[in-house]
Symmetry: C2
């Protein structure tokens, strides 16, 4: 490893000149409005100017049939870059449609790093087909990265980096930095003959040193941070963000340097992490295609609807306990949704604050009781305010003071319970290693629905019957 990795690949990246880029959404607008030949012509113009990332975004914004037609216009040399920058589902859709000979050509240009990322979503037989196109050495690399799971940074570390031995000179270091133009390249990693990581030298120090014969180990930067290969993706991303570096070494359990993590990769991981959280709130996946084939899309969403149905039946069963009072006081049925809805909103406010805090590692057993007190205080204040407002409106609407008292009490109780549940549900889910962004709101709404209906109709039973 005492040499530059994949030198050819990195040379490709040197000349990335490009026109000032129009806003993506404007291009999407023009392209999606056009049809047939007009669209094809417009797209071939875009292809000459746009970055692969923009082309990927554009293709994703096209319906499936148009998308594949436009895909065929993409230059063979640029196809790997574009697919790398697409989400997993749309990428898979294109790969599955491509004829075998085109696919083999594509795979022959794929690096082991690319294939690792693709393989997370590719069917095994297609991954095997891609591996068959690779040389022995590349296959070995693939197997090396494949040891790490989909949530370990060792799997996705960047393997293009500058590494030299301790006794190399400043002159050699300068030559490396001059010859190789890597993205986010600010460090030179020092290793022994077994690739064991020994330290970092900064580019700035290499060029500042006048005596070209100085050994690099003299410039070794004390206390430079290291990312462990089994760190989670978001931990690794945050390590870079919290540091002031552009790159950090990724090291396995034996201290062997296996790659580097860059600020650009961190940015992509942070974006993916938040996209995943956003999509999870609706039981969906960050890889989902904007234009999924209808049956595939329906199947995926059906699971989430089914889970929701179970909780909805729980709420219904709670109401079912009170058929007696409902049949006598119809106004209760009219007002029921208000109690549930106010509790649900109040709870989701606490839950959202918790999810944001957890994403940054700011919540723990030590401050959860203080948080609970705070949320309960906020919930009680708002509970008192809104129980009075709603009580008065309901009492006036149905000309019935008891109704005002019943709904006021139910709102107050439900909003207090919502604050407690908003704090406790994500804590309990975290304890069991479940994603609070995914299942938190379903569980929370179930709690506020059941408690809301139970207190409201229960109080009504006591006061009316």
């Amino acid at each position: 490893m005492n040499d530059v990795k994949n030198e050819l690949n990195s040379e490709d990246e040197i000349d990335t000149s490009s026109q000032p880029q129009a806003d993506v959404s404007q291009v999407v607008h023009l392209l999606t409005e056009a049809e047939g030949d007009e669209q094809a012509e417009m797209f071939s113009e875009i292809l000459t100017e746009a970055e692969p990332g923009t082309i990927a975004l554009l293709l994703e914004s096209l319906p499936l049939d148009e998308r594949y037609e436009r895909w065929q216009q993409v230059d063979v040399g640029e196809r790997v870059d574009v697919l790398n920058l697409m989400r997993a589902d749309p990428r898979l859709g294109i790969v599955k449609k491509m004829p075998d000979e085109e696919l083999d050509l594509l795979f022959s240009q794929l690096s082991p790093e690319d294939l690792i990322e693709w393989s997370d979503s590719l069917p095994d037989n297609i991954t095997d087909r891609a591996l068959a196109q690779m040389g022995e050495r590349q296959r070995k690399h693939f197997e090396l990265y494949d040891q790490y799971s989909e949530n370990e940074i060792g799997r996705y570390a960047d393997h293009q980096m500058l590494a030299l031995s301790l006794t190399s000179t400043v002159a050699q270091g300068q030559r490396f930095f001059r010859r190789i133009d890597l993205d986010c390249n600010d460090h030179l990693f020092l290793v022994d003959s077994n690739d064991k990581y020994l330290g970092t030298v900064r580019r700035y120090d290499v060029f500042k040193t006048a005596d070209l014969d100085t050994q690099l180990q003299v410039l070794k930067w004390e206390d430079s941070r290291v990312i462990s290969a089994d760190s989670s993706l978001i931990e690794a991303a945050e390590a870079i963000e919290h540091s002031r570096e552009l790159e950090l070494p990724v090291v396995d359990e034996d201290g062997i340097l296996i790659g580097r993590m860059t600020l650009r990769t961190a940015t992509a991981l942070v974006r993916e992490h938040y996209e995943a959280q956003l999509m999870a709130t609706a039981g969906m996946d960050e890889h989902d295609d904007l234009f999924a084939p209808i049956v595939v899309g329906a199947k995926r969403r059906a699971v989430w609807l089914g889970i929701n149905l179970l909780t909805a039946f729980l709420a219904s069963a709670t109401i079912g306990l009170f058929e007696n009072v409902l049949s006598q006081v119809v106004a209760l049925a009219v007002l029921m949704p208000i109690v549930a809805s106010m509790g649900g909103i109040a709870g989701s406010q606490s839950l959202t604050l918790m999810i944001r805090g957890m994403a940054m590692g700011q919540i723990s057993a030590g401050n959860v009781m203080s948080l609970m007190k705070n949320e309960l205080g906020i919930g009680a204040l708002n509970g008192m305010l809104w129980s009075v407002v709603i009580g008065i409106i309901a009492g006036w609407w149905f000309n019935d003071t008891i109704m005002g008292i019943v709904i006021g009490c139910a709102i107050l109780i439900n909003m207090a319970v919502a604050a407690i549940a908003g704090v406790m549900v994500p804590m309990i889910l975290q304890r069991f290693n479940q994603d609070a962004a995914l299942s938190g709101s379903v569980i929370l709404t179930t709690v506020t629905d059941v408690v809301g209906f139970f207190t409201f109709l229960g109080l009504a039973t006591i006061l009316y019957l």
Copy 2:
């Protein structure tokens, strides 16, 4: 401007050695579990090792009284850095508590760039107090940046950068790169005597050139991109992400170079953007404090609860139209929540997909009809599946075939409407420049509630009465 900006500040950043950092959440755990003197001791140990970003996260995770006690331990020289990295609300809370003399000392260390960011949330009298601590030149800079609004990148551009004249030599360029160690510094900007931006030279090219007398204009990089100072924050962040650069020049309407945008700033902006979206789904703000004072927190959330209450009354009023049938068939009241809930979930799935696509600029008038067709297809498939399932269960539960038919039809209609509303609501909000992440789900739920109750109870009225 033909010189390095704030050279002293940038020199400070050279030596940022630090211990390998423990995971933030572990430190939060230990710190929040400790109390009083034990906590104070632990925190002073942390202060010697941790980065300002970590200290900011830790302070935010403490309740207000403990937070201010620990804050007083933070070294005077590090206070500006820590406050810079805190969210606006917790920062404001600390600033408001500080005695006047400490505040003046703090403000005397503040750069105009810092103050610009703080001033977005500081009360005017405190901003004026800070300005009074600044020199004439710094005040002028503040006024320059203050011309741009809170959503324009000109306001937050990084003003530390390397700029030289066209006729400067490679030797001068190399000296600049050697002398100044800026974060994300890969470019040298060429300007005329009026600071008009004329082009970019890459660090790589400067060090590759052997003849030190070559003028920098010879190395000028054609077609390098430029960010306009009135671009929105997220547009500017995406321009960097989509490029392969670490920094891009920010230029005003007259072509004057006013600063640069770096990949690190972009990462922070992306994180803030997504945090804002996540918080907006519950009607909250990314600046909100985990431990807001109870009255402040209650007041902010009350607005959102009030808006929700209006929509809940709309749903209630819809139910109120059907008191007659409800008083005769109580089972309707029991099953009502299921119809509303299935529509709400299906709609939120379409809405979430739309919000993600809009964030990336992938949705426009040109593809919205195709999207609608796709979502409607998915909604219809799931609608048929679940209307049969729910119809059978409901029919069996109440031993009433008509009830099964009524709820089945209502679910099918509501899920189709949910798909249409999930696509159209965010499109309409975008047309009126409203944030779909903020108000989308409230409007959508109102639609699915009202339509759900109306079709369910309306059908029941026709079939039972």
